[in-house]
Structure formats: structure tokens, C-alpha cells
């Protein structure tokens, strides 16, 4: 495939991102982005969870293995967790998951975790822009083509 054609294909590719947003901060942040009419790419499919600490590795892995191009986890800023320490635990879990993915060369850069507060509508929109761009550059998730999983 020529470089030109490759570029063309990447332009056509629309990343599908699954976003797990915590009820108390990131989801409210996304809400604020919406009510403030801040534009951001529609590539993220949001799933509201009670806490970033409640996102088991299984949910992230399942999304990736079912072919999602990226998985986003949004939580409160460290120290601000509604349940005191859920996001600290989510942070460790993310380190563990990424380390395992890296061990097998499974593109850990498709998984993002970011802290977004209820007042950071702008930051949410920017983060979605960044992530969509970044995944667009990575290209489609190769797992989507693999059926023997």
C-alpha cells in the first residue's frame, strides 16, 4: 500500500472509544461540556460508573477484545474521590493492567486514565480531542480482525 493510500484510509477511520466515567466527577465534567456547548469528537461512547475504582480490568479488557479502538477511564482528581480512595486504587490497577498488556505487546496506549473534575468541561472536551487524535494515529485496533480469541 502506498503512503498516500495509507493516509487516505486513516482519514476514513473513525475510532470507537469506550469511556467509563465516574458519576461524581468525570461524568459531571462531560455533562458540563455538553451544557456549555463545547464541541468535542463524538467518538466516545460513555458508560457511567459510580467510581473509577469500580472499573475492573475485565471491563477494559472486554471492550478491547471486542474490538474497541480505545478505552477511557475518567475519575476524580487524586484526593477528591467521593469514596475517599477509589481513584488511587484505580490508578494502581491501571498500572497493573498496562504492565500486563505491555508484557505481551498488546498496545497499552489504547487505554487511558485521566482525572477530570465536575467543573472541568473544557478539560473533558480537550481530553476527548487528544485521545481521538491519538487513537486515529494508532489506527484501528488489530484485535478487531482477530476472530480466534
Amino acid at each position: 500500500m502506498t503512503e498516500e493510500k495509507k493516509e487516505h484510509n486513516k482519514e476514513e477511520f473513525e475510532p470507537r472509544i469506550v469511556g467509563f466515567l465516574c458519576n461524581w466527577c468525570s461524568y459531571a465534567g462531560a455533562d458540563l461540556a455538553g451544557t456549555s456547548r463545547i464541541q468535542y469528537p463524538p467518538n466516545v461512547r460513555i458508560i457511567r460508573v459510580m467510581c473509577s475504582g469500580s472499573v475492573d480490568s475485565m471491563y477494559i479488557l472486554r471492550a478491547l477484545l471486542e474490538g474497541a479502538d480505545g478505552v477511557f477511564v475518567g475519575g476524580c482528581h487524586p484526593g477528591d474521590c467521593h469514596y475517599l480512595d477509589g481513584n488511587y486504587k484505580a490508578r494502581r490497577r491501571m498500572v497493573l493492567l498496562k504492565t500486563i498488556l505491555e508484557t505481551f505487546g498488546l498496545e497499552s496506549e489504547r487505554v487511558w486514565i485521566r482525572w477530570i473534575s465536575a467543573s472541568e468541561g473544557q478539560r473533558f472536551a480537550e481530553t476527548m480531542r487528544d485521545m481521538t487524535d491519538s487513537i486515529r494515529k494508532l489506527g484501528p485496533n488489530p484485535i478487531a480482525k482477530q476472530w480466534n480469541i
Binding site: L65, D85, Y88, L96, L97, T99, L106, W115, K145
Partner: protein, 374 residues
């Protein structure tokens, strides 16, 4: 605190002499029972057997086979209620580590448990042991290979054992030592705790003998094994990308035997066997439509990666998962490199110290600051 004693081996019968010692321990040291590896009548394998009658004790503590996790058996005995009476357990070093991990997970109560660790010369798979090629007693074969320093036993070892770097038990009350000993004549019996020391006082064992050569021998064998371990890690870290990863598990039939055999996987209701994975027919059909085809059963990789996320930090590299696989998937090729990397990331040493918390239940506010900020 270490107390060395020497058990004199009678007529070169290593296992028999240890068995005699255990008999003494059971009949005179106030121990209610001993959980020891003992051959089943057919001699096809050796199981942990809980023995209260010294006359029925025919322990084969050096038998090179580990059909089930001894730690999981102690969990079964103590998790409902801690034992009120003392009992001893003869364990391989990996099983002591697993026992400590289970204690951290509240699946084992260590009250009144006397841990008797044995120097491990490695184990064979259950099938290899049951149909041992030389048609001779595997324990004798193993000990002979050890005494004569031939590598005859090496080719029969399970992968986990052949790259194991912790063949000498830590955290035991009593250690039965082989490395550095002239085992045809003498075996080392060591008390590592006050509890162990008190028990050994009931036995009339030779004390005060110099065992300095043991330390050197243990160091040498450790260095030798470490080299093998590092080579294994280097060799197996080559597998990269989803295509190769999926191919590795191509023969997996989702039986979950690896999970059942794993000493760390204690959940009665595994998430991966729960109703989360039940779905209506239309969902299967829809999934088939997205790719044009859907392999059944599905979620093979999800199970392995997910299970790994749940247990890998506590993995003691015993290899029982690999032994349990009906289709001989070489799970250690995946689990050892993953355990090495993740445990290093969290500076965690499973089974080393019962007070060391499992990384996923603790955190520090000032760590991993870059995660979630970039």
C-alpha cells in the same frame, strides 16, 4: 534464630529416616496430626494426607510430584475456623509462599499450623510421575541424581521447577534440608522459629554440628537456577502482538482447570464463570454479524488476561496451572514473564512476608503521579 540439627540417615534410606522422625514428632510432640505427601496405594502419585495415627504414616516428603496445591488444602482446613489444635504441614517452598498469600487474602488461618518446609529438588508432572519411564521409584531416582550430581532428573522436571529460584523454604517453622548435605548419611533439620525449636526438642537429634557448607551450596544452586530463570524470561519475552498471543491460546477450550488448580484463585464464584457472560441469542448473532463469524466458546483471551490481572501479583510461579491444562498449553511461558514484570513494578514479593500487603489493596498518595495527568 536458627537451630541446626542433624538427622542421621539409616542404611541410606533418606525418605524412611525422615518418616521415622515425623513419626516421633507426631507421637511425642503434642501435634494432633500431620499433613504429609504420602503415596496412594497404587503408588501412581502422592497426595497430601492428613495423618493422626503414627502407625499409618508413610510419608514420602521428597516425592517429585505436586498433584494439588498443599496451600489450598490448608485453606480448606482452616478458613471456616482456625484450628484450635496444632497440626503440622509438610510443604514445598512454593506452597509455603502460596500459603502466605492465602493468609493475606483471609483464606488461611495460620494459628496452630506448624509449617515444615522441605528443600525442593523439583517435581515432575502428575503424568510423568505416574508412568515414570525408568520404571523405578521416582523419589529414589531423584535423590540418586542429586547425590551423584548427574542431571538425569532435569529432563523430567516441570517447566516451573526447572526455572525455580526458591528451592529452599523460607518462612517455615522447621526446614528439612538437602542442599549441601551428604544426604546418604545426614539430613539437616533446622528450626527457624521458636515454635519449631520447641517441637524439635522432643526429638533426640544431634546438635552443634557445623553446617557452613550448606550456605555455600544453597548459594551455588541459587545462582545456577537464577541464570536459568533469567534465560527463560529473555527467551519467552519475545512474544509480541495480538496475533501471536491469540495463537498461543488457540487450543484452549475454556475449561478453567488452570484456575481450579491455582492456589491463589480462591474465589468460589469466579467472575469469569458468572452470569455476566450469559446473553440472549440475538447478542451472539449480532456479534457474529460484526465479524462475519464468532468462535464458540468465546472470551478465551478475556479469561486468561482477566484472571492474570486478578492473581498475577500473588503468583508464586508453582506452575500448577500449566500442569492442569488438558491441552498442554505452556502457561508458564506467559505467567512467569508477566509475574516477573508486574511484581517488579510494585516491588512486591509474594509469600515473603505475611505483613507485606498485596499491592492492589493499598496505595500511596504520592505514587504514579504521571498516571492520569498526561
Amino acid at each position: 534464630m536458627m537451630h541446626h540439627m542433624i538427622l542421621n540417615v539409616k542404611d541410606g534410606d533418606v525418605s524412611g529416616s525422615v518418616n521415622e522422625m515425623l513419626k516421633h514428632l507426631l507421637s511425642s510432640a503434642g501435634i494432633e496430626a500431620l499433613l504429609v505427601p504420602q503415596a496412594v496405594p497404587s503408588k501412581k502419585t502422592v497426595f497430601p494426607v492428613l495423618i493422626s495415627d503414627p502407625k499409618k504414616l508413610h510419608a514420602d516428603v521428597f516425592a517429585p510430584v505436586l498433584p494439588v496445591s498443599t496451600a489450598a488444602m490448608v485453606s480448606r482446613m482452616t478458613k471456616v475456623q482456625p484450628s484450635s489444635q496444632p497440626f503440622g504441614v509438610v510443604m514445598h517452598p512454593c506452597q509455603i509462599r502460596a500459603l502466605f498469600e492465602l493468609a493475606k487474602l483471609n483464606q488461611v488461618k495460620l494459628d496452630n499450623v506448624v509449617i515444615i518446609g522441605v528443600d525442593c529438588l523439583g517435581t515432575f508432572s502428575v503424568n510423568t510421575y505416574a508412568s515414570f519411564p525408568e520404571k523405578q521409584n521416582p523419589t529414589l531416582f531423584l535423590l540418586e541424581s542429586f547425590v551423584k550430581k548427574t542431571n538425569d532428573s532435569e529432563k523430567y522436571l516441570r517447566t516451573a521447577c526447572s526455572v525455580c529460584t526458591d528451592m529452599v523454604p523460607s518462612n517455615a517453622d522447621i526446614v528439612i534440608g538437602l542442599y549441601g548435605m551428604d544426604v546418604e548419611h545426614e539430613i539437616l533439620i533446622e528450626a527457624h522459629t521458636e515454635k519449631g525449636k520447641k517441637l524439635l526438642e522432643h526429638l533426640q537429634l544431634e546438635t552443634g554440628k557445623d553446617v557452613n557448607h550448606r550456605e555455600t551450596a544453597v548459594k551455588t544452586v541459587h545462582e545456577h537456577q537464577l541464570k536459568k530463570y533469567q534465560m527463560f524470561i529473555k527467551e519467552k519475552s519475545g512474544l509480541k502482538g495480538i496475533a501471536l498471543f491469540a495463537e498461543f491460546f488457540d487450543t484452549c477450550v475454556n475449561c478453567h482447570n488452570c484456575k481450579t488448580a491455582c492456589p491463589i484463585c480462591y474465589c468460589r464464584e469466579c467472575l469469569y464463570e458468572s452470569a455476566v457472560f450469559d446473553a440472549e441469542a440475538y447478542k451472539f448473532l449480532r456479534k457474529a454479524q460484526t465479524k462475519g463469524l464468532l468462535k464458540m466458546p468465546q472470551d478465551t483471551l478475556l479469561f486468561h488476561l482477566g484472571r492474570m490481572n486478578h492473581m498475577i501479583l500473588s503468583c508464586v510461579k508453582c506452575g500448577l496451572c500449566e500442569q492442569a491444562c488438558p491441552n498442554n498449553i505452556l502457561l508458564m511461558d506467559m505467567f512467569i514473564p508477566a509475574a516477573e514484570r508486574t511484581q517488579k513494578e510494585f516491588s512486591y514479593h509474594p509469600g515473603k512476608d505475611v505483613a507485606e500487603k498485596i499491592p492492589m489493596i493499598v496505595y500511596r498518595e504520592d505514587e504514579y503521579k504521571e498516571v492520569g495527568e498526561k
